[in-house]
Subunit: 250 residues, 2 copies
């Protein structure tokens, strides 16, 4: 009698390649603009060229690499303006999702799941002591709320579009959470975000599509504020994963 449910499939070489390359790029082990020769990656990861190639293609789709001419891939750098645009795109699509959720109306279980998520966030933020490691839990709950909100649009097309927009570095909803605690007033930022969460949920519950749209857009712009704070703070930059992909001036 073997396990009827395969718990965790043996990680494939393709997964290893994808995770490994992404990790190396975000750690800054290749400079922006630098080529990623397949054979070098083969040596570094102990995986053959085939899964490496698949991973490179995926990471180019994801946005952290770009296809080079006439062939190959290079690490992509992001200007501050590009990051701001990526955040704006994410906010725009989240606003669309929330508007659709408000228009169609949600069932009680969905609303309760979101409310429960916000209750847990309230509790977490109330007890939060600067220095304790509440951040990973915050990330998780924050991510869950956003996920629930987007899925409540009921549209897989929108979910997909958003997943791709949020895959860009620094564009996701948790992109700047890791640097909270390194900048002054960071807990206050999280609390303000949480107040917006409440307002968003209220608007969806009230089926007020006209209200929810600007609320969600404004919520996403917190990320933009955080970006500007980080750029002024060398210490915080060190704690921002992938910060080496940010180029100050080109």
């Amino acid at each position: 009698m073997t396990d009827p449910i395969p718990f965790q499939r043996d990680q494939s070489q393709a997964d290893r390649a994808l995770l490994g390359i992404r990790d190396m790029v975000l750690r800054g082990e290749f400079k922006t603009g630098e080529r990623l020769p397949e054979l070098v990656l083969v040596d570094l990861l102990g995986v053959s060229r085939t899964p490496i190639r698949a991973a490179l293609q995926k990471l180019a789709e994801e946005g952290i690499l770009e296809a080079a001419q006439p062939a190959g891939y290079v690490v992509r750098g992001f200007s501050e303006a590009e990051i701001a645009d990526a955040i704006e795109v994410r906010g725009t699509l989240e606003a669309l999702a929330a508007r659709m959720a408000a228009e169609r109306g949600l069932r009680r279980p969905q609303l309760e799941a979101m409310a429960d998520c916000l209750d847990q966030l309230d509790e977490l933020l109330a007890e939060a002591v600067p220095g304790s490691d509440y951040l990973s839990q915050y990330s998780q709950l924050n991510g869950r709320f956003h996920q629930l909100m987007v899925e409540s649009s009921g549209s897989e097309i929108v979910v997909r579009a958003l997943a791709r927009a949020a895959a860009l570095p620094f564009a996701g909803h948790n992109a700047f959470v890791s640097i909270q605690g390194r900048i002054p007033g960071s807990l206050e930022i999280l609390k303000a975000a949480q107040r917006q969460h409440r307002e968003i949920l209220e608007a969806i519950e009230a089926r007020s599509s006209a209200r929810v749209e600007p609320l969600v857009k404004e919520h996403a712009r917190i990320a933009h504020k955080n970006l500007q704070l980080v750029l002024k703070n060398a210490e915080a930059m060190k704690n921002l994963p992938g910060s080496l992909l940010i180029r100050r001036r080109p």
Copy 2:
């Protein structure tokens, strides 16, 4: 002395695979939900598995295929609601692009290029005789206008997001042009679209971001109207590329 500018690079096997598979899928040579075994494609296209695999991965990103469990790819079908959502996403992102264009303001050459494009469209529609093949020219000019509008956002991030959203079948700006002429009042639809083009350009020129956003969203919804017309018209369906991917009742 060889040509300094390579005119048209020899089409690679990867290109052949990508174009070939996309074409077969849109022609309906595989039913929705049907698997696309790599070896079958190897036989059909005369290309080895390596470029086939790359193409399958790209087409899954593009949206017309989806990864199957536990492996492989199947043809993806689209419900009417999903197509409507894809159009809405496209319209939302185009509206964002236009708003950004209006906010930053355009240089004269950009405005002139767009105006020139609209002049040509006016001329084309004025002389358009039902039955003549003005449609391919319309597609081209319409595509160019949209391209110019989106690029005038000045944001490569937005351009990329839009390209991906518009890659879904029936979501692009020219998705329903091919069926014009098969449905009553089709020329009038194109003329109405052109009037919206003029208003959009005026709003961008006037840097009225508040006006341009709803204008562009509404413009995209023409595609939604066309979708509903097509679904009621069996004759028009035959002329819609990829129509076999639409499932009436999933």
